[in-house]
Symmetry: D4
Subunit: 256 residues, 8 copies
């Protein structure tokens, strides 16, 4: 029905001479059909990153099949939104993976975290302790993809001196990730103080007229300071990914 | 049908002996029925403030009738949301009124603005020049009701040093009014820096995901700093009224 | 990475002569870095109130660490939104704290509640018995910060005579807190009857087109009576804090 | 294509003997096809009321054609939401119609308004002068359909004594219509004070977080007092129609 | 603090001669203060109905205290939204109450349901079997307050012939209650077919773009047929109460 | 009360001569009254499809009664939204039914799935593995009603080459069903590539600003490509039904 | 910069021998770059329809350029949402176009409307006269693309007999388009009565809680009858396009 | 009142010896108080960009004063959202400014646009011709701040081959800006195809369920492809600013 084929099928066909090397390479770069999912092995080539697994709504069985496949063709494998109960089962099956509980992130152990690199880092800044899970998802994502991260946590604007005392750390980063719930004012304040890209992550932290993150989301979209762009509510992964894109450009600079 | 009677009818009845002094006084304190409106002359006694006229949706003719009545029994008469075209006509008919164009406010001239009082003032703080109309509505309201006002304008968080350089002026006030559109972050920042009540006014200034003030409104309701309470979008009058309540308590202090 | 240091580290440095008294004092006034949180010891000085702990989303372990620190430097320590199960554990560890179950509030026992003061009180008025938890959060907050509170409960407008029979109690207060769900009409009615500031707290009580408090929130923001300002849905703490600010101004009056 | 036929066509067929009396009667009771509209002549029989014309979005030409047809078969013809400019043109063509400008209503002159009947009346109560247009639409609708109406205007809860002084008038009515914008609290207050059906009409009067009538609509739907039912925002006609249904039941009582 | 007093306190004062009969009567008609609630014994006199208990959010203990009090002074006592678990406990304590499980309603046994009266009935019409709980709440409310009810269930417009085959039953009623979720079209269809008041109850039945009853609510408010008024989502009680008001007017007719 | 009668009652009356054959036939085509439900046996004749049972909110007992009745008069009986626990009980009682767990669908075994027909098929296309349950509901619905279905799963636009490699399969279908959550972009992309009707099903898959399917719903309604129409969020059944209507027209073509 | 080239450029290159026939054909089938727009000449081949011009937000100048190009390569050219003022100017420049004012549609005169075809038609059904503009956009779209259309207008459910008297016309169609504003109930009622696909178009007709079409949109998405799919608010074009897809399948049937 | 001083005042004080050089420098770097605005001259130093003037809601007079000041201290001065009428007046007064009408942008002529730089460019991609104004605002912003821009317009997904034929241009950019209204699907598609940061700008282009940009905004926030971050609806400036930040990092690379 669909044309997708598993890695094994392709290789078998090569062995049997039914497929020549070029065709097989082309197919292998493309995608692999697992029936319930089509793994996008081509993505690394197109976007510079392997496919990342969004764990919510997938069964442990599906996750194990997918992760096993991905580690075969990728150096850095990351799965987000993995509940602790699921992680426990997966780790027994796939011991070469590590789990960061606050971030609910699972990643292949060939990554040793945190990495300290010589050429710049990403600042992950959060407003309150309740924003920690999202902030850590952002931080771990960046680390899995090879960035150094500096964490500056609990510096919300209600006690703005806490932000100012950590401003040097933030200003020296290649890019900032601002994670905040409630009214999300931290993004606007920071946006007016730094000269690098700021990725803002609204969180669903709060209650009442917060409407599950709507308040912080609208705040950040309407930030009066420029240089801020926004990802989905609680999408720490998205911000970590975006910041990594910046850090990679910065790193090319040194190699030249 | 309804029991309301005009001032003249009541007095005529007193003259004719149909109503004794006590009854008349009681009626006069209550309300006056103009047919299309029932003026609440009793309000000053109940709440300490005369009825304020909301000009939007009233015709020039209705406004003139109402204002003429109110000046008879009140020292400070204020009408808000009066368009310039309407104001021009009214001022010709009622020359003892003044008009403040930015605030779109009309008030009886027995008020000389601005008043400088010996005992404290209200700080009206706004984020951007587009918030000026609302900020002025707040300021003029407070002035009409006898408060001194200090204006601190265009100190939004995108250039937060502008706020800090004016912080002493704000901290010394009896109460602050914060007027901001877009993401309204100024309220949260200020709320964490002062020890007096902060009344936040979200404005409809902005565009797109601002949704006509929704963004600033939600921000201010979710402010991470305490000591902030919120009035309706663009409701400068409401904030000026609330701040005047605070200033009056402060002033009693000296008289004792 | 960040510059925050624990109280012990600062004092140790003073002992070793690495830090002089002035520097240490400045640091101690500022904030304390617990890693997952930065306690804002400076807040009392800036805003007149110590940092209040928002219990939702914090673990029992985090709460115990934070509360232990706060009692060292503050006279009145308050934690809100503490579930009964958490409170039980914390009270065993920190026996000098008290728990008010309806309000879900935990506070240090150096506070003896309720306080009866000679100079005015705050009226906490609620519409129905389902609003009790929020009303109590407001009341306990005010009491912990030193105010006398008069409770006027279950006086919603469906039986408006109940309100009128308690109106004298409310009118004599320094400030009122109105707590109401459903259509929140109580705020408007009360706002037209008193001459002091009214802080309105919409609650999420109701169902259907109530949309989890949206109905009461919009009602209160659009109240036709002035002198009303609004805090977040179910934010009893915010209203109690604001009312305390008013009561403190009132009390200064007598001392002069 | 469609089977509708004009009155003339049917009568012509009767004259020609192509249609017998019974068939013609049945057709005439049903509907008349004007091409752009199908007039529902059957409605009076089904619902006790003739079809009412909603003027918004119809051209003057369409309105004249429709009204001419309706007066042929109905005693009371009513058209709502007719702008003054349109009314002027229509009245020149159809001089046996009257126009009530505040209500924007046009009705056939065989109705002499207001009617005073011996058996009960409807109370139309509104909160502020800006609600007048909607209140008048309700009142005129009821009058056109034969009810006596008592108007009690500008009695919003900000000066609640105005309501209480008119309460006897309201309590003696067969049904009440409450018209209010902003927070719409008047409906709840009144609902708790009367023993007859209350029809609540939220209006779009207000600004900011009023969201064009949403605030009053939600308030009225969530009213804590029972005995209140709600019609669409600004739908004075709907309330007048509903109240007339009640008044008709009341009137049957006397005839028995 | 508040002036409310329990029935016993008032009677004791009468016994001691501290209160004369007139004062006591006046107080007894008013309200009774249970501390956590103020029972509105005056409501029957004002509105013709006793206070009805909304069970959601009240503890079993509170419910028992309230119900015990209410049966002392009222013939018909009704409590809605009572979960089966709560009902079981209450019935053991108050055996003279009955419980209708589908409606989740508890009522005093002096009511024998269903009553068959000689003078008209209320039609409770619902669209689907999932709307049954709300329809039954409406029906039981009307029955407890003395009305005969005819139930016409599962006649939604997807199979509109089912409605037409039951139309005679509906048309002969004094008033109709239409209960529908999803798109709520049944209200519009019925509104165009009957000549009595229709009370529409949107239900939260549905999924997706139903947004928990929003879809049916908006449909009913925008119904193209007049004679329909709307109560809150899932508010069967409100519709039953309103319909009873109509039925009572109808019944007076016979007595005259 | 209502006029509906069970099949047995009708047949008994025929036996007793109380009902002649014609009348009975007419009644049997119409609906059957089970008390809590009125089965619409007439639907097949009107719409070409039997009544389909929506399982959510119905008890196992109700489902068994309804399904037993439906199989008597229909060839294809389908029940959707049946939880696995319910299915297990029903299958024991009604062993001639089958259950498809992913789709949560129950259907009578006279249907053997999947059918392979000679004349065209429906393409069910979904964006991600989390959309599988909805996609399967659509697919099974179409299969139960006699269509062949081709499944093309996990071809979301983030890896758009997966879609293009399966495009031939999709283009050859009679109609497509596109199932997608998050931003639902797949519908627009596909709509621009095929020449047959596309039925789009937004799913509630996603988080944050997805607002439970709102994001995909709005996307699909605003699709820049024509030829797309939309059903309710998660309404796989609706799409399957619509696509079957198309397939039936296609099939008539061959028979002619 | 971009690779698009105008038709003339391509032909010139062919003339010069710089481009062979095959390449030119491929380019001509693809798109033409006008700078401000890229005309999709390939669309007819992919989807069976030429690109349709959405007139809103385009200048008269842009429209003339685009329409001139499209008539060169397409038999049926359609532009929607063309204001009368714009149409007047365009028709002077492009006299071979016709304009239908109610539908605001412009189409090339090679189309003679209405076409009467031997093999089925589309029923365009609307609820009220205010829905006419949208209904006509749907009807004209279908006619321009070669379908016969039967119009059944003003048959809303408030007078449901009007619908039933036209039901035969509707039932005999290949597909129905239902256009309705306000509560949009007509879609549900019709959906339960026909056995062909129904495309529902919510309109923005209405006021108040209609929220500019939201009410009808939600109603139609939640329709309790199956066989209905929905297009965007006021999107008559979309429905006409979808219905044409159905009619084309039906017509193939005869040719076979 | 506030401490801000004009440039002239500061220099005059220096001349008079009232201010030493250091103090003056510090003040000059900070902000300049124009009364109605406080120009943030310090911003260039903090963020690398001068203050940009948002023209909406400012008078021509205010704009002229502000622009005159800004050109004194900044190389690149940009004002956005300037209506053509305003621009005409300003250009007469300030002839060294240029105006780009589609983008509604005004900028100082020391900028010659477009700049062609040797080291990378920004791709501005838009879906339809109606998105042009926003796309041009993004493009001009980037050009004013020194970037080369490649425009790829009208490549929406309804004719996706237009995108693919321009993909090389987009893939070679340092960063992409995607501008799209309606369902905004272009962002997701592009995000899955490039390896650089994508800034998505939802536009308010569309109608009906587009809800003035809400549809595209939610789509982009929920994009299934990573590497996308979002700015406010119609905020072309914000995207141009963000992309410039990326381009600057890229350019540093060459200089090293």
């Amino acid at each position: 029905m669909t044309k997708g084929q598993s890695i094994e099928m392709i290789l078998e066909k090569v062995r049997l001479g039914e497929l020549d090397i070029g065709q097989a390479a082309s197919l292998l770069k493309s995608y692999e059909d697992l029936g319930f999912a089509k793994l996008d092995h081509h993505r690394q080539e197109r976007t510079g990153f392997p496919e990342v697994v969004f764990g919510e709504g997938k069964t442990v069985e599906q996750l194990i099949v997918i992760l096993k496949r991905l580690v075969k063709t990728n150096k850095s494998v990351l799965a987000t939104r993995i509940a602790p109960e699921k992680a426990e089962v997966i780790l027994q099956e796939l011991p070469y993976f590590s789990y960061q509980a606050t971030a609910r992130a699972l990643y292949s152990k060939t990554q040793e975290l945190p990495l300290v690199r010589s050429n710049g880092y990403i600042a992950v800044v959060c407003a309150g302790t309740s924003d920690l899970a999202v902030a850590e998802e952002a931080a771990v994502t960046a680390e899995v993809f090879g960035c150094e991260v500096q964490r500056v946590y609990d510096v919300g604007v209600a006690g703005i001196h806490r932000l100012f005392e950590n401003l040097d750390t933030i200003k020296s980063a290649s890019a900032s990730i601002v994670v905040a719930g409630m009214e999300g004012a931290l993004a606007s304040v920071l946006g007016g103080l730094v000269d690098h890209p700021v990725f803002a992550v609204p969180t669903s932290v709060g209650y009442g007229a917060n409407f599950e993150g709507m308040s912080a989301l609208l705040s950040m979209l309407n930030a009066c300071a420029p240089g801020i762009s926004v990802v989905n509510i609680d999408n720490g992964f998205g911000a970590g990914y975006n910041a990594t894109l910046i850090q990679r450009i910065t790193e090319k600079q040194v190699k030249v």
